[in-house]
Symmetry: C2
Amino acid sequence: MSAAELIAASATAPALDTTVPAAGLSPDGLEALLREIGARRYHNLHPFHKLLHGGKLSKPQVQAWALNRYYYQATIPRKDAALMSKMTDRATRLEWRHRYFDHDGIGDDEGGIVRWLRLTDALGLPRDYVESTRGIIPGTRFACDAYLNFVREKTLLEGIASSLTELFAPGIHSERISGMLANFDFIDDAMMGYFTRRLGQAPRDVDFALTYVKAHARTAEAQQAVADALLFKTQVLWAQLDALHFAYVEPGLIAPGAFRP
Amino acid sequence: MSAAELIAASATAPALDTTVPAAGLSPDGLEALLREIGARRYHNLHPFHKLLHGGKLSKPQVQAWALNRYYYQATIPRKDAALMSKMTDRATRLEWRHRYFDHDGIGDDEGGIVRWLRLTDALGLPRDYVESTRGIIPGTRFACDAYLNFVREKTLLEGIASSLTELFAPGIHSERISGMLANFDFIDDAMMGYFTRRLGQAPRDVDFALTYVKAHARTAEAQQAVADALLFKTQVLWAQLDALHFAYVEPGLIAPGAFRP
């Protein structure tokens, strides 16, 4: 769907009501609400995602995406560490730290950040420039920092709930892998290593998180906080694609100081 | 300048170098650098500002601007309170609290937030909807929250330096008042009360802040931090107009859940 088509469709779409009834929801009812939020708000619906997996971007536009998304990748282990700092239960920390390892690496696994840097390397971006993050759009930085601050300031339950966009990630990852490989001649299997690896990691992670929120959000107030946390996270992801689209697709106004292809 | 013209001009503009030399700058040299940052990065250069003061927006677009900017207005007194919490010197707090009063009001002065709500009232936006902030673009929220978090987490000197965009505000305010009054038949003098009032407040505030940073930033490191803080703040303002332009001008993709005219 192009931006114009999405604009037309969204003008008539019914509003999404995420209000939890005063009597609360069953655990499965809560799961259904969370899945509805994903179906309506996940960033696979954003026109920039369609352009990316459909091969409709130039190499400089893919560079801009990979450069900006590096900051998101680099924020994730900090977010997970902030969440672990709230876990008084050791067993929960031991479970959650797999996520931290997934990104920063452990043992033979170099971790997701290094795999991301292999992608930006292969796209021809200097590694020190990528790691400095000085070329990212301010909107990218503000969205990612909002995620980190959310997890720091909200409850553990809300922090865990905000990770539940992973429920919807396997679909977007496989769409991205096949679409990018098929449509861009400058993308190869090795460059997609990050996403290939995530296909196995995300389902394991999300099982734990979903079970956790279903077990711990037993009042209407807690369930509302869980739904709001997931909505917030969809905004964090959506806003990053808004910023990329604005700067590098339409109208193409790159904020001063940001990467200029 | 339209978005297209700005895109063309920015493609050939020389990069802005804000590096403070290792030997440091004189206080006046620091002021010159700060004024250069304003001249190159302040949001009066953004095409959305040009559309606004040039009367080139529809009433719903002006509503979207006023609705979103309400969140910025509402963030300012929280930002000033966070800064005051870092001031161990009572005299500095007594000086700075004028800013807090300017926004939350004191005595006969209702304050800037109420003046802003008079504008959104007159534009036909329900006050409870505006105050709930539930219709703002996520990019607005993330940018404003980034400002609050910056002031909370950085040094007092950096927090004060981040206020120095006020150096450039009188020009934008008077441009906005005259341009909006001349060009929109749904805008009258009373609705511009916020900006009329700010014309007198901002110069008093900025004298103190500028004198403060020139007196306290005496090493190259501190001066670099001051320049970086002002650059950061220009990004906070610029990113808000990026988000408005993307959602309500071009391509017009309104993030799910945000105000839909």
